[in-house]
Symmetry: C2
């Protein structure tokens, strides 16, 4: 399916408060997140490189020990195998693209 | 720079009517496009896999010979080396992520 309407994709709650619509291409996974205010993302790392874009809301990210409040129009470039985590200060919409595919999200 | 505000990135007009803010990670390039109504994207292909998301406006895409009007919330998954092109029916905002990096966009 080369063309997909996001409205037709069912959300999955990947961790508590983190709801994603997921699309897997051959090399990349796109995740469209709806995050509930207050939800914590424990610090973790993965082999996947990640481009993370905040669409709305405020998200406090910790990346490689550096803390930053991200809001609309902020992008985080998360390298492979670098520790990151955070917390939704408000309800947030966030979009991630990962390389390679997140097999664990299928 | 792991955290970037899109407002600080200068736009480049890559082809006539296609203005992009570009971010290059190690393996992926993210392009935030502002496309002027009526602008044509000649059919082309590249080794890069592409995830393309329409944020606003209407874009007529031709992908591998199939024509589709894409509007808000529509995603196109464009495989490596598959012909695609199109035309902005209205002013559009489109976001692409490419794997691997678009060296030609640096």
């Amino acid at each position: 399916m080369p063309f997909i309407a996001l409205s037709t994709i069912e959300e999955k709650e990947i961790i508590k408060g983190y709801h994603a619509k997921l699309l897997h291409a051959k090399n990349m996974t796109a995740a469209f997140w709806r995050v509930e205010a207050g939800s914590e993302l424990p610090e973790h790392e993965h082999k996947h490189e990640q481009v993370s874009i905040v669409i709305s809301g405020k998200f406090e990210m910790i990346l490689d020990g550096k803390k930053q409040i991200l809001d609309k129009g902020m992008v985080a470039l998360i390298p492979s195998n670098v520790k990151h985590g955070g917390k939704a200060i408000t309800d947030c919409e966030i979009r991630d693209v990962f390389y390679p595919v997140r097999e664990d999200y299928r």
